[in-house]
Symmetry: C2
Subunit: 276 residues, 2 copies
Amino acid sequence: MGAQQAGHLAKAGYPVSAYTHKYEKLLELEKEFGIAPCKTVAQAVQDADVIFVMVGYPADVEEVFLQDGILDHAKAGALAIDMTTSSPSLAVRLYEEGKAKGVRVMDAPVSGGDSGARNGTLSIMVGGDEADFQEALPLFEQMGKNIVHMGPAGFGQHTKAANQIAVAGATAAYTEALVYAEKAGLDPNRLLEAIGAGAAGSWQLTNMAPRVLKGDLAPGFFVKHFIKDMKIVQQESRQRGVELEMLDAVLKMYEKMSEMGLDDRGTQALIQYYRK
Amino acid sequence: MGAQQAGHLAKAGYPVSAYTHKYEKLLELEKEFGIAPCKTVAQAVQDADVIFVMVGYPADVEEVFLQDGILDHAKAGALAIDMTTSSPSLAVRLYEEGKAKGVRVMDAPVSGGDSGARNGTLSIMVGGDEADFQEALPLFEQMGKNIVHMGPAGFGQHTKAANQIAVAGATAAYTEALVYAEKAGLDPNRLLEAIGAGAAGSWQLTNMAPRVLKGDLAPGFFVKHFIKDMKIVQQESRQRGVELEMLDAVLKMYEKMSEMGLDDRGTQALIQYYRK
């Protein structure tokens, strides 16, 4: 996903340097977009005015910011924007440690998946200082459509967390409806037609249920990343003294899916859990 | 809801007789629509070509069909259509007992709530014989817009069951997202704006979450009826050897809401469960 976003910035005429673990990936980006490949985080960020991060897990975010990373090598006054879906608490910590080192940090996770990244139609949920948001906005506009400044550091991540709660419920919703339909002998395509436009309707039902019915379990969004997101939600909720029981139930099923070897499937593979 | 539907039929020029437990309700219908009030089920159905039933619970459906009811008093060849959200198994049983007595029975539960009934925009999910469906279609068209023949007896109820599963998931989805937002300090209206158009979006989030934020917990659809529907789903699923874990989690919360005295609130009162 980071490659798509770097590509949008380069196509818009910004000079872009990039680092990732796989150097051959960077050579592709150089060829396609004229992006400068870098062998270390330090090399990628040292001359940058604005730094974007898009990695996998909160541990990766910590590494790239803190372990001989962005906060050690970015120039004073640089703006470092983490677009990974990560922990709100970590976002606040990076903002504060950044401040101590003269680096402005923002959190700006996205939704809209691979296709949103490709087509520049991502939703971008931003936490951080207002002036920094305004400065970053023209860059965000190269990547997404619905760009909202949600509040101070961590609030982009909180918004994404709430987004993922709603996605979890809607995913279980259409999946269990399909499982029921299967067991009852209903024509599932006809079911979607009958219920999709009313009170049962959702983006997930409209867009993902038909993929399930075609047997297409390829990842738009990986099971393993969804588990990571739901664990962040669960942890942040519990820290605030609230148990989200639907979310807990859905997370429990996805963790069993992980044990079933479905980590690299798309979230719609939940149907496999019930067919087990 | 039955009153609205009887009204639509009367306004379309059909002669309508009606029975309900509260006779004064019938006098209102007589005044407004010229509907003939009846003191017993027998009186209401004995001369009818087509009979519509809209009551509360499966036990009420059983009563009105079987206990000195429709199957005893309808004329031979009459078409009796149950629009209550009820059990698929009961629908099959009534179809079969009807057949033995020369009464054609269909199940045709609806979705779209009070406003759908009032405006004649209900979705109607029909189970029964094809010829009976064709005969009833002009009448259904007075009441609803999206009218689908889903299969043999019971399949209307199965479709509504699947619909309610999806509603349960989507309801828990937007509610837990709002609860999280509250705990995290997010502006909930801004949250809905940020996430509503994407992968987290649903009819429930768009239509019901704003009611929650206005503190409007008035019933469009009652908590007690939603519990009834979810229990039917759970029972039918278990009979088929499948546990719907999201549905189970949501039903459990609604049962606790019932204990909290929230039976007569709208389904959006789920937020109260988390605020307990």
